[in-house]
Symmetry: C2
Subunit: 495 residues, 2 copies
């Protein structure tokens, strides 16, 4: 008889899933970045087949006993952490019937793909039919997950992205935000109304923007031997840790969205690229949570991007690729980078108005999943909340309203809060860095961004999923989630 | 109990493999077209895992009895053809142990990937170490396949690409070729030495060549909603029928290789794009064989590309994308398109010297697989045969010699003869077309290429694997493989 432990058996099974999931990641990225229209049906079927297979492997009848036996085996701390993550994954997978997993994958793929042409056509009527089916399936999913975990319907979905986070906590944090954010937005706007800010004058060719984006990624430390930048309708960071696939989109009349979006995705990318190589294929190699992931992209885009010294690092790249112009003067550039302006599009939103977008999504998707509202109610709610939170009229403008991104169409219910939790974590990291390195801002001003990257690498990237989120946050910053740092950051930077 | 037939069960299993293989195709294309260096190890492991899984599905213990039961079920002609192809696949898969399948996939991936940097470095010593392992595994494969099929070692490998073709037949056909080809090459060179041909003057930007390639694909009827053109070190046509992924490579000093290579791959692409949509997922939807596939690419690149009227179709595209120059005058352009010149690189070879490259590969790979020579013998044999067949000195020039393409490194032993069989089939198609359409050349001259495409679609593309190769060839052209058409084609076009 072999002396293989149950733990070893579990690891081999996990590695197999990890390898097959690699193909799924790349094919999904390709679906968004490369695939022509007529390829979608076959791709969706292929991804659904793989989704079903991975679910089958994750729910294999032998796992329950293996997990129980491994519990009793002599394991070190790292192995113990792997086992904890395997148990978490097992619980989540076994809560769902395979047919539901496959149906979800198919419905999400179809909805996402159709959205690509429906969005430019402002075709809510077409989109809502696909979305209805996606919501139906995710309500079913929430029910299964809630039944198995004892969590609420929305908590059960959110737990997939931000393990341990609860709607009650989100309510508390977002409730606090709602109390001071509208006032802060008004104050910042009043202050900025006094300033003169020159707008860059385009057009800016795609080729020049692409080259600028590459240089910006280099500035932020992206490893081009382990990833690439392409284009897609909705920017994202996909692929695998060994081969990170970032995407952006270009508009010739403006380069800032694409540039800062690229810097944002580079934060995600570096997290993935710096997960411990010797752990890859083990559960603890994975990034900890979506909120933690967003804390990296926002550390790059917002904490560094809005830093008073960042304009001086960016200016030479702009001049190199776009030619010089008055708007690229450092003071003006900083004003452009910190300009607060309520707008329709979440991914283009500034740091101050962004949380308003997230609160809006949360306040719609939670009752939607809980069955308190229906998909047909979304546009009216969207219009009302955009007016209330940001003073914007979105009636009839689905394209820049509830069809602006494809999270819901792709089934990502429970994800949105992670963005603002991420912004809070990011502020907390920089507060901790400044306590540890009193000269941090001087070093950033000298272009020594490695001070930031090294800290993030040591405290977050290289830690993977070794610790549960609260412990990771505590170890990194000396305290658990503390939203006061985010408020302090916004006030000190924008007022 | 369900009334499902064994045949239905087999079809469902096949469809599952078909869907998973979709992901493998896309990830393999990506590996060549997109993947950065550090992604290779994980990608190779993922592809090997999938190779193993597909092999596992193809060798499932239940299949033997299902295939036997389906034999006795009431099936129509199409179902009968599907069953024949499933039996063929079952025999081939069951001859190989799973460990060998995985080891091959891994060794091929590693060797191919290393070749990408070893080739420009002319690093035979590095390449041969990987190649040794690839050859060792494919000799093992040949042994297993030969044992199970009763075929010779080389026949057993070739049968995977060109079912039913045997080395004895290749010997006969290539023996005939060898008897008149060197003389023909000399005669054509002597004739062409009298002509004055202007060379295009570069440089030709990558962007202009890319746009030119796209227009040429459009001219040849490629459907851009079901495929795309990208770049890779070695041009190929991959992807899936619903989403064909063609690649090319560009040199700024010359556009002809890339342009005609693109037209070549477009022939492969259109075959795939026009396989019957209502059959996709069934075995008979697949392209019939590699020789048949090459007959399509060579119908495009050679039969049409060297047609006296083709220059007039190409000229406006060249002028549009590269500007006008004397070399683009129609007569000169035709001379460029039909120029015969012994050269190092097979994929850049003209139609007349190309078979010499294939004979050389065949005469090396066959004894290599049979264990009569070793990988270390390749360079000396290569040098001797290049001198003998084409009068070229390749000593020390591995880059443009035995490392010029990655077929062997990727494990494609038994594939090379398909190229020249394809050239013969292509000549046979055009001979049949001219019998059926006496005005074919006039129609081509008027730019009515649809006359050719419609014939190929009706006779080849839409037929998939419905018939065995000899029957398909007979139905399409009224006779089985007849190499006389190829000889007649070369003589009439080049002398």
């Amino acid at each position: 008889m072999s002396t293989t432990t149950a733990y070893d058996d579990l690891c081999r099974r996990h590695e197999r899933q990890h390898r097959l999931a690699h193909l799924q990641s790349i094919a999904s990225w390709d679906q968004s970045a490369n695939m022509p229209a007529k390829g979608n049906e076959a791709r969706s079927l292929a991804l659904a087949e793989m989704g079903g297979l991975l679910h089958q492997l994750a729910t294999d009848g032998a796992l329950k006993e293996l997990l129980a036996r491994a519990e009793g085996e002599a394991l070190d701390e790292v192995q113990r952490a792997n086992l904890r993550e395997m148990q978490r994954a097992w619980r989540a997978s076994n809560a769902l019937p395979q047919a539901l997993v496959e149906a979800k994958s198919l419905a999400n793929s179809r909805c996402e793909h159709a959205w690509r042409s429906q969005r430019p056509a402002n075709d809510w009527a077409g989109y809502v039919e696909n979305l209805r089916e996606v919501v139906r399936l995710h309500r079913e999913e929430a029910k299964f997950l809630a039944d198995s975990s004892g969590l609420g319907l929305y908590d059960a979905l959110m737990d997939q992205y931000e393990p341990g986070m609860r709607a009650a906590e989100v309510d508390r944090v977002f409730g606090d935000l709602r109390s001071w954010l509208p006032g802060l937005i008004r104050d910042v706007q009043a202050k900025q109304a006094q300033e003169t800010t020159l707008q860059p004058v385009g057009p800016f060719s795609k080729a020049a923007q692409r080259a600028l984006g590459h240089d910006a990624m280099q500035l932020m430390g992206f490893d081009f031997e382990a990833g690439r930048l392409d284009e897609s309708a909705h920017p994202f960071c996909g692929g695998v840790p060994e081969d990170v696939r970032m995407t952006t989109r270009y508009r010739e009349d403006s380069f800032m969205q694409s540039l800062m979006g690229t810097i944002h995705e580079t934060g995600h990318g570096r997290y993935e690229q710096n997960l411990r190589r010797d752990w890859l294929g083990q559960p603890i190699a994975n990034a900890r949570s979506m909120g933690l992931h967003e804390s990296q992209s926002l550390s790059f885009e917002m904490q560094l991007g809005s830093h008073p010294a960042f304009a001086s690092l960016l200016r030479p790249l702009l001049v190199k690729h776009l030619g010089d112009q008055p708007a690229f003067e450092e003071g003006n550039l900083h004003r452009l980078l910190t300009r607060v302006h309520p707008g329709y599009i979440r991914v283009d939103a500034d740091e101050v108005t962004y949380p308003a977008h997230v609160i809006l999504r949360y306040e719609i998707e939670r009752p939607l999943i809980e069955g308190l509202i229906e998909v047909d109610d979304i546009p009216a709610l969207w219009d009302a909340k955009m007016m209330e939170l940001l003073g914007l009229d979105t009636r009839g403008n689905y394209k820049d309203g509830c069809m602006q991104d494809v999270h819901w169409g792709g089934g990502l219910f429970g994800y949105f809060p992670c963005y603002t939790l991420g912004a809070m974590y990011a502020a907390q990291w920089f507060a901790a860095m400044r306590r540890e390195m009193p000269d941090l801002d001087a070093r950033i001003a000298r272009g020594e961004l490695s001070a930031v990257f090294d800290w993030l690498n040591a405290k977050i990237w290289s830690q993977g999923s070794r610790y549960e989120t609260p412990e990771l946050v505590q170890r990194a910053s000396g305290e658990t989630l503390n939203p006061a740092h985010f408020k302090a950051h916004l006030q000190s930077r924008y007022l």
